[in-house]
Symmetry: C2
Amino acid sequence: MTRIRRSGALPLPASPLLTRLSRLVRLASGDREALGLAEVNQRRWPARHELVTEHEPVRETRALIAGWAMQHRTLRDGRRQILGFLLPGDLIGADRQAHSLAAAAIAALDAVVTCVAPAAAPGTSLSEAYARSAAMERHHLMAQVTRLGRFDARERLADWLLETRERLALVGLAAADRFPLPVTQEVLADTLGLTSVHVNRTLQAMRRDGLLAWRDGTITFPDRLRLEMMVDYRPARVSLDDEA
Amino acid sequence: MTRIRRSGALPLPASPLLTRLSRLVRLASGDREALGLAEVNQRRWPARHELVTEHEPVRETRALIAGWAMQHRTLRDGRRQILGFLLPGDLIGADRQAHSLAAAAIAALDAVVTCVAPAAAPGTSLSEAYARSAAMERHHLMAQVTRLGRFDARERLADWLLETRERLALVGLAAADRFPLPVTQEVLADTLGLTSVHVNRTLQAMRRDGLLAWRDGTITFPDRLRLEMMVDYRPARVSLDDEA
DNA sequence: CGATCGTTTGACAAGGGTCAAAATGCGTGG
DNA sequence: CCACGCATTTTGACCCTTGTCAAACGATCG
């Protein structure tokens, strides 16, 4: 049914969902099929659209196929904290139980495409993949706590950028030293617990020090290893048999 | 097998594990039995003992029956971030998948008692209870991110104390306006992303303002509602049919 | 009674916030 | 193709919350 296309120099745009889950768990062919099937039925959302509302019931598990979204909370007085980002291949509400309520809002950062995630029977490879995906998410939340609690501005930026590059690389959307970053400094500030003014100054200092460049919506690391040393960065490992 | 004892004025020391899970989900009698049985086999650990080591495999799901523990990460240079606390009734590693690795260390804060959590077959009330427990945990992690990212020192303290009181109340270990807090100001600092010096000063200011008292290891709120207003505190609600 | 751990205090430094305005970029309509 | 309007980035001056360092104080324990 699917025809492999090798004509141009274009890399085959593999499904980020299938790619990601396959890297988390060796999927049974039936489960791979189910995912492929689920992706046929896509839904698009414009930038800024609210996909999930805080305190509302979460009806079904979905997956993000394209675009970026953020999970965030807004306080009474307008302060906002972004808890984390949803990137292509990520699941939305996978860790859902009966009648569960959304713990935070989810909003599209740019144009976004989703599909419904296929149900996974207990014991299947797909169910294991969902569990690992949830474990990754928990891991990222913990990393976020450590960043906000014990890192200064420069470390927060470096650590977060490295983590984001790694997540994108997992679905083939980042190179070793560069990746697209479709967000404003204001969004970055609300992610890292800073003000946009301070994010700006910190970025400039890091640029001056040759730690990164950011032009045309693309982050580049002139020397990624140096950056990783700086914050003692470790790739997320959630289970024994993770790749590399 | 269990004899109900009503002789003295002593309240029956109900199992915190059974209490907590019962409040999260209406448990089938078989599941209640399984929990009771599991608790027979207890294990005690001294204060400071490391129950779980970061990056090590997590073999089984356990439950905390008595005492306090903390989940934490320590950086190369000694900085430490406490991600959250484990209180009586909490599960340890419930969200585990095959071959999963601990995302953070867990250490006993005082003398601690654990048992092995009974396995839950898919579809049972126990499995649902575990899922909700995991959802609560995720909720607390998100609250922690918001606290560290957007709250100042006083708000962090207030919000965290209120949350902790609520969690203890869930297992009958806290009154409406007071609860035991068996930790040092240093531990509090590493939880809230502050220094112990600043925690100390902030606590004093809050005492002066009549927001709280802390004597003999017990926190007291002279006016809990005022404190809740101050930080717009909302009890954690994870699913539609949570109690009240 | 010293030793140790935790709390408290003081003086000072600094990272990051605030406010306001200027520059830059960019999509859209004329 | 240009001009306008809006969003975003950048800069400057100033201030405040929180961190740092060091010492004193208090309680607990062998």
